[in-house]
Amino acid sequence: MRPSIRIISRRDFLCAAGGIAAGFALDPAAAAESATATAMQEAIRAVVGSAQVRKGRVTLELPPLVDNGNAVSLSVRVDSPMTQADHVKAIHVFTEKNPQPNVVAFHLGPRAGRASVATRIRLADTQSVIAICELSDGTFWSDSVSVVVTLAACLEEI
């Protein structure tokens, strides 16, 4: 039998070590609820159907190392003329290890002038984030970024 190794977060450790009552404690069951790479693939499939997703045209920007996973700046740009004939219809963002793979979906069109959006997201763990755009010609393009999260999000320690 392989020994089970549990990666313990700093806060887990401090809570355990100090024996303090955390306002919101990390629930072990919640960890089990996190999405997996498979769940992410399924979520992507639900959006793109049987279409092929190609690398390119999309630039996803996230900091490689974040101060806090509760609010991580994210921006997506797509190389598109944004005309009636050729534009971005939607941009979808997915994560690998959050409790749910879906993060946000932006719907835009030629009136945007530019395919450029930004928001702030939660990242529960060090993981990959993927942005997929749907073009008016029915093709899908993607970019992905790996982000190191030094603190788990969604915990309050008071």
Partner: protein, 257 residues
């Protein structure tokens, strides 16, 4: 690995060290310890979530409250001019109480004595909004607290509290924030603990919080019993932090990780 790192650092912190005050030239705002992205969040009012509270504070400033049927604006006029630099002078000496009061207490004194309205609770949305709005009027101005003879005993008490080892980890504020501000505690920069951005939006809180909320978090971290919100001990400590950061520019409403 992280656990090992934390234990090792806590052990380093726990050995007796002398607390040396940071020379003025080496003082650094918490801003300087942040990532480019978090700085950008603070720098752009259109992206800084704390501005939601400032906007609310602006509305509260003009809103009639209490039996006195007066709004802050009725006495103080346009806060953009009348309150310029005011927050940078707090905690300030209050003759009635015979001791320094912080900005929250000053707002509540106005509410209960002038507006005849109930005091606002610490960490309440309204008090955070008003203090954020007031603090915003001092943004970019240097912290400039009074240090006359009346203030001295309270400043000394604050300094003593800052240097007093406390809690199960037996650590003083100074051991982290004077002696180890250039190091990290697990993934976090320790920082110099300057109060120049409060109330501020902390990503950890996912909301706005006061300096005293932040100090309570610190005290939970070292397993110490935190004083009550608004207690004299906390105000003295706030005063000492302001003195320690004298001349540093206000960033309210700041953003911190």
């Amino acid at each position: 690995m992280r656990v090992v790192g934390t234990v090792a650092l806590l052990c380093t912190l726990a050995v007796p060290v002398r607390a040396v005050e940071i020379p003025p030239a080496e003082r650094r705002s918490g801003y300087e310890f942040m990532s480019r992205e978090t700085r950008a969040m603070q720098d752009d009012d259109a992206a800084n979530p704390a501005m939601l509270w400032v906007l609310e504070g602006e509305a509260l400033w003009a809103r009639t409250a209490g039996a006195g049927e007066r709004a802050c604006r009725d006495c103080h006029g346009d806060a953009r001019s009348s309150m310029k630099g005011v927050a940078a002078r707090y905690p300030a000496f209050d003759a009635t109480r015979g001791r320094p009061v912080n900005l929250e207490q000053r707002v509540n004194a106005c509410r209960t004595e002038r507006q005849k309205a109930p005091a606002l609770a610490y960490q309440s949305r309204e008090l955070l909004a008003l203090t954020a709005y007031l603090g915003r009027q001092s943004r970019g101005l240097p912290i400039d607290i009074a240090t006359d003879a009346r203030m001295k005993p309270f400043l000394d008490a604050g300094r003593a509290a800052f240097n007093r080892r406390q809690g199960q980890l037996d650590l003083s504020c100074a051991q982290c924030h004077d002696d180890h501000w250039d190091k990290r505690l697990a993934g976090n920069a320790i920082t110099q603990a300057h109060p120049n951005g409060y109330p501020l939006y902390r990503l950890e809180w996912q909301g706005l919080g006061s300096l005293q909320r932040r100090m309570r978090n610190c005290m939970a971290g070292i397993r110490a019993l935190a004083p009550e919100y608004g207690s004299a001990e906390f105000v003295d400590l706030e005063l000492f932090l302001a003195w320690r950061a004298r001349g540093m520019k206000m960033e309210t409403p700041a953003v911190r990780p």
